[in-house]
Protein backbone atom coordinates (compact mmCIF):
# COMPACT_ATOMS: atom_id res chain seq x y z
CA UNK A 1 0.00 0.00 0.00
CA UNK A 2 2.96 2.19 0.63
CA UNK A 3 3.86 2.11 -3.03
CA UNK A 4 0.50 3.58 -3.87
CA UNK A 5 0.06 6.05 -1.06
CA UNK A 6 3.49 7.41 -0.39
CA UNK A 7 4.06 8.98 3.00
CA UNK A 8 2.97 12.52 3.65
CA UNK A 9 0.49 12.70 0.81
CA UNK A 10 -2.43 14.09 2.70
CA UNK A 11 -0.45 16.29 5.04
CA UNK A 12 1.33 18.04 2.20
CA UNK A 13 -0.13 21.53 1.70
CA UNK A 14 0.56 21.95 -2.03
CA UNK A 15 -1.00 18.53 -2.53
CA UNK A 16 -4.16 19.58 -0.75
CA UNK A 17 -4.33 22.73 -2.88
CA UNK A 18 -3.79 20.65 -5.98
CA UNK A 19 -6.54 18.20 -5.05
CA UNK A 20 -9.05 20.97 -4.44
CA UNK A 21 -8.10 22.97 -7.51
CA UNK A 22 -8.03 19.84 -9.63
CA UNK A 23 -11.48 18.76 -8.53
CA UNK A 24 -13.06 22.13 -9.25
CA UNK A 25 -11.41 22.39 -12.65
CA UNK A 26 -12.28 18.81 -13.56
CA UNK A 27 -15.93 19.31 -12.66
CA UNK A 28 -16.28 22.52 -14.67
CA UNK A 29 -14.45 21.03 -17.66
CA UNK A 30 -16.70 17.98 -17.59
CA UNK A 31 -19.91 20.02 -17.63
CA UNK A 32 -18.73 22.13 -20.54
CA UNK A 33 -17.02 19.20 -22.21
CA UNK A 34 -20.16 17.10 -22.59
CA UNK A 35 -21.83 19.80 -24.65
CA UNK A 36 -18.60 20.46 -26.56
CA UNK A 37 -18.50 16.86 -27.71
CA UNK A 38 -22.20 16.78 -28.58
CA UNK A 39 -21.71 19.91 -30.68
CA UNK A 40 -18.63 18.39 -32.34
CA UNK A 41 -16.58 21.36 -31.25
CA UNK A 42 -13.57 19.45 -29.92
CA UNK A 43 -11.34 21.28 -32.36
CA UNK A 44 -12.60 24.68 -31.21
CA UNK A 45 -12.09 23.58 -27.61
CA UNK A 46 -8.54 22.59 -28.36
CA UNK A 47 -7.83 25.70 -30.37
CA UNK A 48 -8.90 27.82 -27.43
CA UNK A 49 -6.27 26.14 -25.32
CA UNK A 50 -3.63 27.25 -27.78
CA UNK A 51 -4.93 30.79 -27.65
CA UNK A 52 -4.92 30.55 -23.87
CA UNK A 53 -1.24 29.68 -24.21
CA UNK A 54 -0.63 32.97 -25.95
CA UNK A 55 -2.50 34.73 -23.18
CA UNK A 56 -0.60 32.91 -20.50
CA UNK A 57 2.79 33.59 -22.01
CA UNK A 58 1.87 37.21 -22.61
CA UNK A 59 0.79 37.56 -18.99
CA UNK A 60 4.06 36.07 -17.88
CA UNK A 61 5.88 38.69 -19.88
CA UNK A 62 3.82 41.52 -18.47
CA UNK A 63 4.14 40.17 -14.96
CA UNK A 64 0.40 39.70 -14.62
CA UNK A 65 -1.05 36.65 -12.87
CA UNK A 66 -1.22 33.57 -15.09
CA UNK A 67 -4.91 32.96 -14.49
CA UNK A 68 -5.84 36.35 -15.96
CA UNK A 69 -3.59 35.74 -18.92
CA UNK A 70 -5.19 32.39 -19.66
CA UNK A 71 -8.69 33.73 -19.25
CA UNK A 72 -7.99 36.83 -21.31
CA UNK A 73 -6.35 34.92 -24.13
CA UNK A 74 -9.05 32.32 -24.21
CA UNK A 75 -11.85 34.87 -24.32
CA UNK A 76 -10.11 36.88 -27.03
CA UNK A 77 -9.69 33.70 -29.06
CA UNK A 78 -13.35 32.81 -28.66
CA UNK A 79 -14.30 36.28 -29.83
CA UNK A 80 -12.05 36.03 -32.87
CA UNK A 81 -13.44 32.66 -33.82
CA UNK A 82 -16.98 33.95 -33.55
CA UNK A 83 -16.15 36.93 -35.74
CA UNK A 84 -14.37 35.03 -38.49
CA UNK A 85 -16.30 31.80 -38.26
CA UNK A 86 -19.49 31.03 -40.06
CA UNK A 87 -22.28 28.50 -39.59
CA UNK A 88 -20.98 26.00 -42.09
CA UNK A 89 -18.81 23.38 -40.41
CA UNK A 90 -15.92 23.36 -42.87
CA UNK A 91 -15.50 27.12 -42.78
CA UNK A 92 -15.77 27.02 -39.01
CA UNK A 93 -12.91 24.53 -38.81
CA UNK A 94 -10.81 26.63 -41.13
CA UNK A 95 -11.46 29.78 -39.11
CA UNK A 96 -10.56 27.84 -35.97
CA UNK A 97 -7.34 26.70 -37.56
CA UNK A 98 -6.40 30.20 -38.67
CA UNK A 99 -6.95 31.62 -35.18
CA UNK A 100 -4.98 28.73 -33.72
CA UNK A 101 -2.09 29.39 -36.07
CA UNK A 102 -1.95 33.08 -35.32
CA UNK A 103 -2.22 32.46 -31.59
CA UNK A 104 0.56 29.93 -31.69
CA UNK A 105 2.72 32.45 -33.49
CA UNK A 106 2.02 34.94 -30.72
CA UNK A 107 2.88 32.32 -28.12
CA UNK A 108 6.19 31.78 -29.85
CA UNK A 109 6.92 35.46 -29.60
CA UNK A 110 5.89 35.87 -25.98
CA UNK A 111 7.74 32.80 -24.80
CA UNK A 112 10.82 33.95 -26.61
CA UNK A 113 10.57 37.33 -24.93
CA UNK A 114 9.94 35.64 -21.61
CA UNK A 115 13.17 33.72 -21.87
CA UNK A 116 15.37 36.43 -23.34
CA UNK A 117 14.08 39.70 -21.99
CA UNK A 118 12.92 38.51 -18.62
CA UNK A 119 15.66 35.93 -18.35
CA UNK A 120 13.39 33.41 -16.67
CA UNK A 121 13.57 29.73 -17.35
CA UNK A 122 10.81 27.22 -17.29
CA UNK A 123 8.21 29.58 -18.72
CA UNK A 124 7.36 27.29 -21.63
CA UNK A 125 7.11 24.26 -19.47
CA UNK A 126 4.98 25.89 -16.81
CA UNK A 127 2.54 27.59 -19.11
CA UNK A 128 2.06 24.81 -21.61
CA UNK A 129 2.24 21.80 -19.40
CA UNK A 130 1.26 23.18 -16.05
CA UNK A 131 2.64 22.81 -12.58
CA UNK A 132 -0.31 22.20 -10.34
CA UNK A 133 1.83 21.71 -7.28
CA UNK A 134 3.18 25.24 -7.51
CA UNK A 135 -0.15 27.02 -7.81
CA UNK A 136 -0.78 29.24 -4.82
CA UNK A 137 -3.87 28.53 -2.76
CA UNK A 138 -5.04 32.10 -3.18
CA UNK A 139 -6.03 31.25 -6.74
CA UNK A 140 -8.63 28.81 -5.55
CA UNK A 141 -11.37 31.30 -4.64
CA UNK A 142 -11.17 32.91 -8.08
CA UNK A 143 -11.24 29.56 -9.82
CA UNK A 144 -14.20 28.51 -7.73
CA UNK A 145 -16.14 31.71 -8.46
CA UNK A 146 -15.55 31.62 -12.21
CA UNK A 147 -16.13 27.90 -12.29
CA UNK A 148 -19.37 28.30 -10.40
CA UNK A 149 -20.46 31.02 -12.81
CA UNK A 150 -19.86 28.76 -15.79
CA UNK A 151 -21.74 25.84 -14.27
CA UNK A 152 -24.62 28.13 -13.37
CA UNK A 153 -24.80 29.52 -16.90
CA UNK A 154 -24.71 26.05 -18.40
CA UNK A 155 -27.48 24.91 -16.07
CA UNK A 156 -29.68 27.89 -16.93
CA UNK A 157 -29.08 27.48 -20.66
CA UNK A 158 -29.32 23.73 -20.71
CA UNK A 159 -32.57 23.31 -22.64
CA UNK A 160 -31.96 25.76 -25.50
CA UNK A 161 -28.32 24.68 -25.56
CA UNK A 162 -29.25 21.04 -25.96
CA UNK A 163 -31.77 21.75 -28.68
CA UNK A 164 -29.43 23.92 -30.73
CA UNK A 165 -26.67 21.35 -30.37
CA UNK A 166 -28.87 18.63 -31.82
CA UNK A 167 -30.42 20.71 -34.57
CA UNK A 168 -30.06 24.44 -35.01
CA UNK A 169 -32.91 24.49 -37.52
CA UNK A 170 -35.44 22.96 -35.17
CA UNK A 171 -34.23 25.27 -32.43
CA UNK A 172 -34.65 28.46 -34.42
CA UNK A 173 -38.06 27.33 -35.60
CA UNK A 174 -39.04 27.15 -31.94
CA UNK A 175 -37.84 30.67 -31.34
CA UNK A 176 -34.50 29.92 -29.75
CA UNK A 177 -31.85 32.58 -30.41
CA UNK A 178 -29.36 30.17 -31.89
CA UNK A 179 -26.56 32.65 -32.43
CA UNK A 180 -26.76 34.04 -28.90
CA UNK A 181 -26.78 30.58 -27.37
CA UNK A 182 -23.72 29.75 -29.45
CA UNK A 183 -21.88 32.85 -28.29
CA UNK A 184 -22.74 32.24 -24.63
CA UNK A 185 -21.54 28.68 -24.93
CA UNK A 186 -18.25 29.83 -26.43
CA UNK A 187 -17.91 32.14 -23.45
CA UNK A 188 -18.35 29.22 -21.06
CA UNK A 189 -15.92 27.14 -23.08
CA UNK A 190 -13.34 29.91 -23.03
CA UNK A 191 -13.59 30.42 -19.27
CA UNK A 192 -13.43 26.68 -18.65
CA UNK A 193 -10.29 26.41 -20.76
CA UNK A 194 -8.74 29.36 -18.98
CA UNK A 195 -9.38 27.76 -15.60
CA UNK A 196 -8.06 24.34 -16.47
CA UNK A 197 -4.94 25.87 -18.00
CA UNK A 198 -3.84 26.89 -14.54
CA UNK A 199 -4.17 23.36 -13.28
CA UNK A 200 -2.99 21.16 -16.08
CA UNK A 201 -1.27 23.52 -18.44
CA UNK A 202 -2.90 25.25 -21.36
CA UNK A 203 -2.01 22.77 -24.03
CA UNK A 204 -3.09 19.73 -22.09
CA UNK A 205 -6.36 21.04 -20.70
CA UNK A 206 -8.13 19.57 -23.72
CA UNK A 207 -7.80 16.18 -22.07
CA UNK A 208 -9.93 17.19 -19.09
CA UNK A 209 -12.39 18.91 -21.39
CA UNK A 210 -12.91 16.11 -23.89
CA UNK A 211 -11.75 12.86 -22.28
CA UNK A 212 -14.18 12.26 -19.41
CA UNK A 213 -17.02 13.81 -21.43
CA UNK A 214 -16.52 11.60 -24.47
CA UNK A 215 -16.14 8.52 -22.28
CA UNK A 216 -19.31 9.30 -20.35
CA UNK A 217 -21.31 9.96 -23.51
CA UNK A 218 -20.46 6.53 -24.84
CA UNK A 219 -21.73 4.84 -21.72
CA UNK A 220 -24.57 6.93 -20.33
CA UNK A 221 -28.12 7.00 -21.63
CA UNK A 222 -28.92 10.65 -21.24
CA UNK A 223 -27.06 13.93 -21.37
CA UNK A 224 -27.71 14.56 -17.68
CA UNK A 225 -26.39 11.14 -16.71
CA UNK A 226 -23.39 11.68 -18.95
CA UNK A 227 -22.67 15.01 -17.27
CA UNK A 228 -22.61 13.52 -13.79
CA UNK A 229 -20.56 10.57 -14.95
CA UNK A 230 -18.10 12.89 -16.67
CA UNK A 231 -17.69 14.95 -13.51
CA UNK A 232 -16.96 11.77 -11.59
CA UNK A 233 -14.49 10.51 -14.17
CA UNK A 234 -12.78 13.89 -14.35
CA UNK A 235 -12.30 14.15 -10.61
CA UNK A 236 -11.05 10.58 -10.38
CA UNK A 237 -8.58 11.14 -13.21
CA UNK A 238 -7.30 14.32 -11.63
CA UNK A 239 -6.91 12.94 -8.13
CA UNK A 240 -5.37 9.72 -9.34
CA UNK A 241 -2.98 11.74 -11.50
CA UNK A 242 -1.95 13.91 -8.57
CA UNK A 243 -1.43 10.86 -6.41
CA UNK A 244 0.66 9.03 -9.00
CA UNK A 245 2.76 12.10 -9.70
CA UNK A 246 3.43 12.49 -6.00
CA UNK A 247 4.33 8.82 -5.79
CA UNK A 248 6.56 8.90 -8.85
CA UNK A 249 8.77 11.33 -7.01
CA UNK A 250 9.46 8.57 -4.49
CA UNK A 251 9.70 5.63 -6.86
CA UNK A 252 12.93 6.85 -8.40
CA UNK A 253 14.66 9.25 -6.04
CA UNK A 254 17.20 10.29 -8.65
CA UNK A 255 14.60 11.79 -10.99
CA UNK A 256 12.15 14.61 -10.38
CA UNK A 257 9.15 12.36 -10.90
CA UNK A 258 6.79 12.55 -13.81
CA UNK A 259 4.59 15.57 -14.42
CA UNK A 260 1.05 15.53 -13.00
CA UNK A 261 -0.43 16.57 -16.30
CA UNK A 262 1.06 13.55 -17.99
CA UNK A 263 -0.68 11.20 -15.57
CA UNK A 264 -4.00 13.00 -15.81
CA UNK A 265 -3.95 12.95 -19.61
CA UNK A 266 -2.91 9.32 -19.72
CA UNK A 267 -5.68 8.28 -17.33
CA UNK A 268 -8.31 10.18 -19.32
CA UNK A 269 -7.09 8.46 -22.48
CA UNK A 270 -7.16 5.00 -20.87
CA UNK A 271 -10.74 5.52 -19.68
CA UNK A 272 -11.75 6.52 -23.20
CA UNK A 273 -10.14 3.52 -24.83
CA UNK A 274 -11.65 1.12 -22.29
CA UNK A 275 -15.10 2.57 -22.89
CA UNK A 276 -14.56 1.98 -26.59
CA UNK A 277 -13.72 -1.66 -25.99
CA UNK A 278 -16.74 -2.09 -23.73
CA UNK A 279 -18.94 -0.48 -26.36
CA UNK A 280 -17.78 -2.69 -29.21
CA UNK A 281 -18.19 -5.78 -27.02
CA UNK A 282 -21.75 -4.74 -26.34
CA UNK A 283 -22.43 -4.19 -30.05
CA UNK A 284 -20.90 -7.54 -30.98
CA UNK A 285 -23.19 -9.28 -28.52
CA UNK A 286 -26.21 -7.68 -30.14
CA UNK A 287 -25.31 -9.00 -33.61
CA UNK A 288 -24.73 -12.50 -32.36
CA UNK A 289 -28.30 -12.86 -31.16
CA UNK A 290 -30.24 -15.24 -33.49
CA UNK A 291 -32.31 -13.51 -36.13
CA UNK A 292 -35.99 -14.40 -36.54
CA UNK A 293 -36.45 -15.38 -40.17
CA UNK A 294 -38.96 -17.46 -42.00
CA UNK A 295 -38.36 -21.17 -42.19
CA UNK A 296 -37.13 -21.19 -45.77
CA UNK A 297 -34.12 -19.09 -44.97
CA UNK A 298 -31.29 -19.41 -42.57
CA UNK A 299 -29.39 -16.23 -42.02
CA UNK A 300 -25.71 -16.80 -42.11
CA UNK A 301 -23.77 -13.89 -40.83
CA UNK A 302 -21.12 -12.75 -43.24
Amino acid sequence: MHFFLEPGFFSNAPVRTALLLGAVVAAVSAVVGVITVVRSQSFAGHALTDVATAGGSGAYYLGVGALWGFLGGSLAGAGAMELIGVQRVRRRDLATGIVLGAATGLSALFLYLDTTVKATTGATQQILFGSIFSVSSSTIPYVAIFGGLVVLMMAIMRRPLLLTSLSSEIASSQGVRVRMVGVLFMFCLAVSVGLSSIAIGSILSTALLIGPAATALRVARSIAAATFLAIGLGIISTWLGILLAYDSFYWDPSSQGLPVSFFIVAICFVFYVFSGIALSRRRAQETRRPVATDSALSAEGR
Binding site: V38, R90, L217, T287, R289, V291, A292, L297, G301
Partner: protein
Protein backbone atom coordinates in the same frame (compact mmCIF):
# COMPACT_ATOMS: atom_id res chain seq x y z
CA UNK B 1 -29.29 -17.07 -64.20
CA UNK B 2 -31.56 -16.41 -67.16
CA UNK B 3 -30.60 -15.31 -70.62
CA UNK B 4 -32.77 -13.06 -72.77
CA UNK B 5 -33.52 -13.50 -76.48
CA UNK B 6 -30.25 -12.00 -77.61
CA UNK B 7 -28.34 -14.44 -75.45
CA UNK B 8 -26.80 -11.78 -73.22
CA UNK B 9 -27.09 -12.03 -69.45
CA UNK B 10 -29.27 -9.49 -67.62
CA UNK B 11 -27.64 -6.23 -66.63
CA UNK B 12 -28.39 -6.91 -62.98
CA UNK B 13 -29.43 -10.02 -61.09
CA UNK B 14 -30.29 -9.86 -57.43
CA UNK B 15 -30.94 -13.31 -56.04
CA UNK B 16 -32.21 -14.11 -52.55
CA UNK B 17 -30.45 -11.21 -50.90
CA UNK B 18 -30.98 -10.64 -47.17
CA UNK B 19 -29.38 -8.00 -45.00
CA UNK B 20 -29.62 -7.72 -41.24
CA UNK B 21 -28.19 -5.35 -38.66
CA UNK B 22 -28.08 -7.07 -35.31
CA UNK B 23 -31.56 -8.33 -34.66
CA UNK B 24 -33.19 -6.25 -37.39
CA UNK B 25 -33.95 -7.58 -40.85
CA UNK B 26 -33.58 -4.79 -43.36
CA UNK B 27 -33.90 -6.82 -46.53
CA UNK B 28 -35.50 -10.22 -46.76
CA UNK B 29 -35.00 -12.65 -49.64
CA UNK B 30 -34.95 -9.96 -52.34
CA UNK B 31 -34.81 -11.18 -55.94
CA UNK B 32 -35.25 -9.41 -59.25
CA UNK B 33 -33.62 -8.92 -62.63
CA UNK B 34 -33.00 -5.92 -64.83
CA UNK B 35 -32.57 -6.16 -68.60
CA UNK B 36 -30.42 -3.95 -70.78
CA UNK B 37 -31.86 -0.60 -71.78
CA UNK B 38 -34.61 -0.67 -69.18
CA UNK B 39 -35.70 2.19 -67.00
CA UNK B 40 -36.56 0.77 -63.57
CA UNK B 41 -38.10 2.49 -60.63
CA UNK B 42 -37.23 1.29 -57.13
CA UNK B 43 -40.33 2.45 -55.33
CA UNK B 44 -41.14 2.43 -51.64
CA UNK B 45 -41.63 4.79 -48.74
CA UNK B 46 -38.79 6.03 -46.60
CA UNK B 47 -36.94 3.58 -44.43
CA UNK B 48 -38.06 0.39 -46.20
CA UNK B 49 -34.64 -0.55 -47.42
CA UNK B 50 -34.26 1.19 -50.79
CA UNK B 51 -30.96 2.83 -49.96
CA UNK B 52 -29.69 -0.38 -48.38
CA UNK B 53 -30.57 -2.26 -51.54
CA UNK B 54 -28.75 0.28 -53.68
CA UNK B 55 -25.71 0.03 -51.43
CA UNK B 56 -25.81 -3.75 -51.71
CA UNK B 57 -25.76 -3.48 -55.49
CA UNK B 58 -22.88 -1.04 -55.34
CA UNK B 59 -20.94 -3.41 -53.15
CA UNK B 60 -20.93 -1.04 -50.18
CA UNK B 61 -23.12 -3.18 -47.95
CA UNK B 62 -22.29 -6.75 -46.97
CA UNK B 63 -25.14 -9.23 -47.29
CA UNK B 64 -26.14 -12.14 -45.11
CA UNK B 65 -27.39 -14.39 -47.90
CA UNK B 66 -27.89 -14.37 -51.64
CA UNK B 67 -25.88 -12.95 -54.49
CA UNK B 68 -25.66 -9.98 -56.82
CA UNK B 69 -24.45 -10.30 -60.39
CA UNK B 70 -23.75 -7.47 -62.79
CA UNK B 71 -23.66 -8.54 -66.46
CA UNK B 72 -23.41 -12.14 -65.36
CA UNK B 73 -20.34 -11.68 -63.24
CA UNK B 74 -20.25 -11.41 -59.44
CA UNK B 75 -19.86 -7.88 -58.27
CA UNK B 76 -16.20 -7.04 -58.02
CA UNK B 77 -15.19 -3.70 -56.68
CA UNK B 78 -13.31 -2.80 -59.80
CA UNK B 79 -16.27 -3.30 -62.07
CA UNK B 80 -16.90 -0.14 -64.02
CA UNK B 81 -20.25 -1.24 -65.29
CA UNK B 82 -22.02 0.76 -62.60
CA UNK B 83 -22.47 4.49 -62.29
CA UNK B 84 -23.78 6.04 -59.07
CA UNK B 85 -25.47 9.33 -58.31
CA UNK B 86 -25.78 9.72 -54.52
CA UNK B 87 -28.68 11.53 -52.97
CA UNK B 88 -27.12 14.45 -51.24
CA UNK B 89 -23.65 15.79 -51.49
CA UNK B 90 -22.55 18.45 -49.04
CA UNK B 91 -20.21 20.66 -50.94
CA UNK B 92 -18.28 23.47 -49.37
CA UNK B 93 -18.81 26.62 -51.46
CA UNK B 94 -15.08 27.32 -51.39
CA UNK B 95 -13.98 24.04 -52.93
CA UNK B 96 -11.77 24.96 -55.87
CA UNK B 97 -13.36 22.73 -58.42
CA UNK B 98 -15.46 23.56 -61.42
CA UNK B 99 -18.32 21.42 -62.65
CA UNK B 100 -16.16 20.55 -65.60
CA UNK B 101 -13.36 19.28 -63.34
CA UNK B 102 -15.70 17.08 -61.33
CA UNK B 103 -17.12 15.52 -64.48
CA UNK B 104 -13.62 14.88 -65.81
CA UNK B 105 -12.78 13.07 -62.59
CA UNK B 106 -15.39 10.54 -63.58
CA UNK B 107 -13.07 9.37 -66.32
CA UNK B 108 -9.92 8.77 -64.39
CA UNK B 109 -10.41 9.01 -60.66
CA UNK B 110 -9.21 5.49 -60.11
CA UNK B 111 -5.95 6.10 -61.91
CA UNK B 112 -2.77 6.92 -60.11
CA UNK B 113 -0.70 9.86 -61.16
CA UNK B 114 -0.99 13.34 -62.31
CA UNK B 115 -1.04 13.39 -66.11
CA UNK B 116 -2.77 16.05 -68.13
CA UNK B 117 -5.99 15.20 -69.88
CA UNK B 118 -5.87 14.54 -73.61
CA UNK B 119 -7.92 16.43 -76.18
CA UNK B 120 -10.23 13.44 -76.66
CA UNK B 121 -10.91 13.34 -72.97
CA UNK B 122 -11.69 17.02 -72.87
CA UNK B 123 -14.05 16.62 -75.81
CA UNK B 124 -15.81 13.82 -74.03
CA UNK B 125 -16.31 16.02 -71.01
CA UNK B 126 -17.77 18.74 -73.18
CA UNK B 127 -20.09 16.24 -74.87
CA UNK B 128 -21.47 14.89 -71.65
CA UNK B 129 -21.97 18.37 -70.23
CA UNK B 130 -24.06 19.25 -73.26
CA UNK B 131 -26.02 16.01 -72.93
CA UNK B 132 -27.15 16.93 -69.43
CA UNK B 133 -27.72 20.62 -70.23
CA UNK B 134 -24.91 21.74 -67.97
CA UNK B 135 -22.71 23.77 -70.33
CA UNK B 136 -24.00 27.08 -69.00
CA UNK B 137 -22.48 26.48 -65.59
CA UNK B 138 -19.65 24.16 -66.57
CA UNK B 139 -17.04 26.60 -65.32
CA UNK B 140 -18.71 27.59 -62.09
CA UNK B 141 -17.56 26.29 -58.71
CA UNK B 142 -19.47 23.13 -57.81
CA UNK B 143 -20.14 24.45 -54.33
CA UNK B 144 -22.02 27.44 -55.71
CA UNK B 145 -24.47 25.44 -57.84
CA UNK B 146 -28.08 24.88 -56.91
CA UNK B 147 -29.26 21.43 -55.89
CA UNK B 148 -30.69 20.70 -59.30
CA UNK B 149 -27.56 21.90 -61.10
CA UNK B 150 -25.32 19.84 -58.84
CA UNK B 151 -27.45 16.83 -59.59
CA UNK B 152 -26.94 17.22 -63.31
CA UNK B 153 -23.20 17.49 -62.79
CA UNK B 154 -23.26 14.31 -60.72
CA UNK B 155 -25.23 12.53 -63.44
CA UNK B 156 -22.66 13.64 -66.00
CA UNK B 157 -19.86 12.47 -63.71
CA UNK B 158 -21.45 9.03 -63.45
CA UNK B 159 -22.21 8.80 -67.15
CA UNK B 160 -18.87 9.75 -68.57
CA UNK B 161 -17.27 6.40 -67.84
CA UNK B 162 -19.93 4.70 -70.02
CA UNK B 163 -21.50 2.51 -67.38
CA UNK B 164 -24.05 -0.13 -68.30
CA UNK B 165 -26.25 0.65 -65.32
CA UNK B 166 -26.82 3.98 -63.65
CA UNK B 167 -28.02 3.95 -60.04
CA UNK B 168 -29.64 7.05 -58.61
CA UNK B 169 -30.56 7.41 -54.94
CA UNK B 170 -33.75 9.47 -54.52
CA UNK B 171 -32.90 12.07 -57.17
CA UNK B 172 -36.45 13.44 -57.17
CA UNK B 173 -36.82 14.09 -53.47
CA UNK B 174 -36.96 17.78 -52.55
CA UNK B 175 -37.59 18.87 -56.13
CA UNK B 176 -40.62 20.87 -57.21
CA UNK B 177 -42.94 19.11 -59.69
CA UNK B 178 -41.61 21.08 -62.68
CA UNK B 179 -38.02 20.07 -61.92
CA UNK B 180 -39.10 16.49 -61.32
CA UNK B 181 -40.48 16.31 -64.85
CA UNK B 182 -37.29 17.85 -66.25
CA UNK B 183 -35.01 15.38 -64.49
CA UNK B 184 -37.10 12.38 -65.49
CA UNK B 185 -37.15 13.51 -69.11
CA UNK B 186 -33.42 14.17 -69.02
CA UNK B 187 -32.66 10.74 -67.59
CA UNK B 188 -34.92 9.05 -70.12
CA UNK B 189 -33.28 10.85 -73.02
CA UNK B 190 -29.77 10.27 -71.77
CA UNK B 191 -30.48 6.60 -71.16
CA UNK B 192 -31.69 6.10 -74.70
CA UNK B 193 -28.87 8.09 -76.28
CA UNK B 194 -26.13 6.33 -74.34
CA UNK B 195 -27.63 2.87 -74.06
CA UNK B 196 -27.61 2.88 -70.29
CA UNK B 197 -30.06 1.06 -67.99
CA UNK B 198 -31.40 3.09 -65.13
CA UNK B 199 -32.33 2.09 -61.59
CA UNK B 200 -33.76 5.04 -59.73
CA UNK B 201 -35.18 5.00 -56.23
CA UNK B 202 -38.15 7.16 -55.33
CA UNK B 203 -40.99 7.15 -52.87
CA UNK B 204 -43.58 8.22 -55.39
CA UNK B 205 -44.07 6.42 -58.69
CA UNK B 206 -46.34 8.74 -60.59
CA UNK B 207 -43.66 10.98 -62.04
CA UNK B 208 -41.97 7.90 -63.48
CA UNK B 209 -45.02 6.23 -65.03
CA UNK B 210 -44.43 7.67 -68.53
CA UNK B 211 -40.86 6.31 -68.76
CA UNK B 212 -40.73 3.33 -66.43
CA UNK B 213 -40.30 -0.10 -68.08
CA UNK B 214 -40.14 -2.02 -64.85
CA UNK B 215 -40.89 -1.42 -61.24
CA UNK B 216 -39.31 -2.94 -58.15
CA UNK B 217 -41.75 -2.22 -55.34
CA UNK B 218 -40.28 -2.40 -51.83
CA UNK B 219 -42.18 -2.82 -48.61
CA UNK B 220 -40.85 -3.91 -45.23
CA UNK B 221 -37.67 -5.29 -46.76
CA UNK B 222 -39.44 -7.45 -49.35
CA UNK B 223 -39.96 -6.72 -53.05
CA UNK B 224 -42.28 -7.42 -55.93
CA UNK B 225 -40.88 -6.77 -59.38
CA UNK B 226 -42.24 -6.73 -62.90
CA UNK B 227 -43.98 -4.26 -65.18
CA UNK B 228 -46.26 -1.67 -63.62
CA UNK B 229 -49.34 -3.60 -64.74
CA UNK B 230 -48.01 -6.79 -63.20
CA UNK B 231 -46.99 -5.34 -59.86
CA UNK B 232 -49.15 -2.35 -59.04
CA UNK B 233 -52.33 -4.30 -58.36
CA UNK B 234 -54.36 -4.72 -55.24
CA UNK B 235 -53.67 -8.41 -54.84
CA UNK B 236 -49.92 -8.22 -55.38
CA UNK B 237 -49.41 -5.19 -53.16
CA UNK B 238 -51.73 -6.46 -50.44
CA UNK B 239 -49.61 -9.55 -50.20
CA UNK B 240 -46.47 -7.46 -50.10
CA UNK B 241 -47.72 -5.12 -47.41
CA UNK B 242 -49.24 -7.88 -45.37
CA UNK B 243 -52.58 -6.15 -45.16
CA UNK B 244 -55.21 -5.11 -47.66
CA UNK B 245 -54.51 -2.12 -49.90
CA UNK B 246 -56.43 -0.81 -52.88
CA UNK B 247 -54.87 0.41 -56.08
CA UNK B 248 -56.83 3.24 -57.64
CA UNK B 249 -56.20 4.75 -61.05
CA UNK B 250 -57.34 8.31 -61.53
CA UNK B 251 -56.56 10.63 -64.42
CA UNK B 252 -53.61 8.51 -65.46
CA UNK B 253 -52.16 8.51 -61.96
CA UNK B 254 -51.94 5.60 -59.57
CA UNK B 255 -52.70 5.76 -55.88
CA UNK B 256 -52.10 3.04 -53.33
CA UNK B 257 -54.66 3.42 -50.60
CA UNK B 258 -54.98 1.53 -47.33
CA UNK B 259 -58.04 0.76 -45.29
CA UNK B 260 -58.80 3.09 -42.40
CA UNK B 261 -56.81 1.95 -39.38
CA UNK B 262 -53.94 0.64 -41.44
CA UNK B 263 -51.42 2.47 -43.51
CA UNK B 264 -50.08 2.29 -47.01
CA UNK B 265 -46.99 3.93 -45.67
CA UNK B 266 -44.74 1.47 -43.97
CA UNK B 267 -43.59 2.29 -40.50
CA UNK B 268 -40.00 3.16 -41.11
CA UNK B 269 -37.45 1.71 -38.79
CA UNK B 270 -35.29 4.53 -37.60
CA UNK B 271 -31.90 3.41 -36.46
CA UNK B 272 -31.38 4.24 -32.81
CA UNK B 273 -29.43 7.44 -32.71
CA UNK B 274 -26.10 6.82 -31.13
CA UNK B 275 -23.92 9.57 -29.82
CA UNK B 276 -20.69 7.86 -30.76
Amino acid sequence: MSIDDKGTPPVLEVDGVSVSFGSRNILHNVSFELRAGEFTGLIGSNGVGKTTLLRVILGLQPISTGSVRVLGAPLSKRSRALGYVPQKVLLDPDVPMRARDLVALGLDAHKFGFSRRSATEREKVEEILVAVDAESFADARIGSLSGGEQQRVLIAHALISSPKLLLLDEPLANLDPGSVQEVVALLHRVAKDHGVSILLSAHEMNALLPVMDRIVYVSNGRVASGTTDEVVRSDVLSELYGHHVDVIQLHGRIFVVAEPGTSAEDVPEHPRYQVD
